[in-house]
């Protein structure tokens, strides 16, 4: 396969050769105190692709997403079993600094959460923490990050204005720029479009398509059409009985999941027959 062909195949979801794996998960179990929320999760998250997690509310997809940058560590009583590796290194291994991990594996939440600072300072925050002080370097990072987040044109003349003065959809893209400013390898998005206007949704979907050339993206979404539109791979999670742990029912190429899923539970869910 030549490079051009590979690029074409990737863009049009027709690639046959396996992509590299970014995050390897084997037999993962997760507990909130004595509640077993997830069990036996085994999946390979492909590098430089968009993977969507879908499933009814309470099926553990956000919990699983937060395992990937140890965001659940912040909740007392939580516990993880099994294997979760980033580029072959144990995410839960001794000596892993969760703060450094969260720089490499950034996160976007449902509610945009800009700092109560200027647009510029929101984006420059991470790079400054990393020790970048030179104004011209910061200017460059801020512009590039805002461009990649598809919000530059709207804010380039008001960089000194407070981030919270922007519309919800612009705030969300500002938050994406803030994450991108520290050059993450993985971007976790937890229902990033649930609370924002349709134009911003479109811009976020567009930027995802552009970002996946350099970043591995995992998105949790309740919007099935969005999962179908933006993702290359789809994972369907389900808690079959209330109180039981959720499982990963089916994982595969999005084009196949949405035309010919192999599991009847997946088919029933995506066709709207339950859930």
């Amino acid at each position: 396969m030549t490079l051009d062909k590979a690029a074409f195949a990737h863009k049009h979801h027709t690639h046959i050769e396996p992509l590299e794996v970014k995050i390897t998960v084997r037999g993962l179990n997760f507990w909130y105190s004595d509640f077993n929320a997830l069990t036996g999760i085994t999946v390979d998250i492909k590098k430089k692709a968009v993977t969507a997690f879908i499933g009814p509310s309470g099926c553990g997809k956000s919990t699983f997403l937060r395992c990937m940058n140890r965001m659940n560590d912040l909740i007392p009583g939580t516990r993880v079993e099994g294997k979760m590796h980033l580029d072959g290194a144990d995410i839960y291994g001794p000596g892993v600094d969760p703060v450094d991990l969260r720089r490499r594996v950034g996160m976007i939440f449902q509610q945009p959460n800009p700092f109560p600072q200027s647009i510029y300072d929101n984006v420059a925050y991470g790079p400054r923490l990393q020790g970048i002080k030179k104004k011209s370097d910061l200017d460059q990072i801020v512009e590039e990050s805002l461009r990649r987040a598809n919000v530059w044109k709207e804010v380039k003349d008001i960089l000194g204005r407070g981030g919270l003065t922007l519309s919800g959809g612009q705030q969300q893209r500002l938050c994406i720029a803030r994450v991108l400013a520290v050059q993450p390898e993985v971007l976790l998005m937890d229902e990033p479009c649930s609370a924002i206007d349709p134009t911003s949704v479109q811009k976020i979907e567009d930027l995802m398509a552009e970002l996946k050339d350099t970043v591995t993206i995992v998105i949790v979404t309740h919007n099935m059409q969005q999962a179908a539109r933006v993702s290359d791979f789809t994972a369907f999670f389900l808690q079959e009985v209330a109180g039981d742990p959720a499982v990963l029912v089916e994982y595969g190429r999005t084009s196949e999941i949405f035309t010919s899923p192999t599991d009847k539970r997946t088919e029933d869910y995506i066709t709207g027959r339950f859930g």
């Binding site: 059409q225 949405f258 035309t259 010919s260 899923p261 997946t266 995506i270 066709t271 709207g272 027959r273």
Partner: protein, 225 residues
Amino acid sequence: MREQFYKDLADLHAEVVDIVAAVSATTRQSVTSLITGDIDMAIAVIDGDDIIDARCLGVEERVLETIATQFPVARDLRLLTSLTFIAMHLERMADLSVNIAKATRRTAGRQGPQTLYDLIQAQGNLVYRVLDATREALEKRDLELARKLPELDEPIDHLYKQFFRELARLHEEEEIEWASSMVLASRYLERIADNAVDIGERIAYLITGERERSTESGLVPPSAG
């Protein structure tokens, strides 16, 4: 649950099943008109084609509307796209029976050897069997029956070849001209059955989600052989 959506899907499915029945009826009429020289019946087939065309177009439009508004996926999506393609085949099949009816107009009032009448009737009977099986396979989503269509189609091709052998025995010019129309009719019947076999592939896909291909012994999944 999306009650109205499921009702729309069921209605569309039933409509296409019904068009298969209509195409089957028009095929029977065209063959009968050819054998009996019944011009009125032939004209009824020709005139009736507009109705089948309109129904097929109606299916396509309703499928488009449903896709545009309901975002169907998985088996619902496969059903809708398959029904569109099946309707396309049905329209062509109806056109082919119109061609047979036109042959009735050309040959009416003339007589040829009984062997050729017998051949076209025999071939017609085999085609009816394929069409009935197609309708049943679609109506009941019967995978085994859909997979059997190529097997049912095979003897039809043999009879078409038989026509050429019979044609070679004729000597009178007038007889040959008449027989040529019969050979064409036989060709149209063979094409009708081929379209039905293609419909069988669509039915298999809408049921399994896998592309199957026709072989002489039936449809096989892409992985086999």
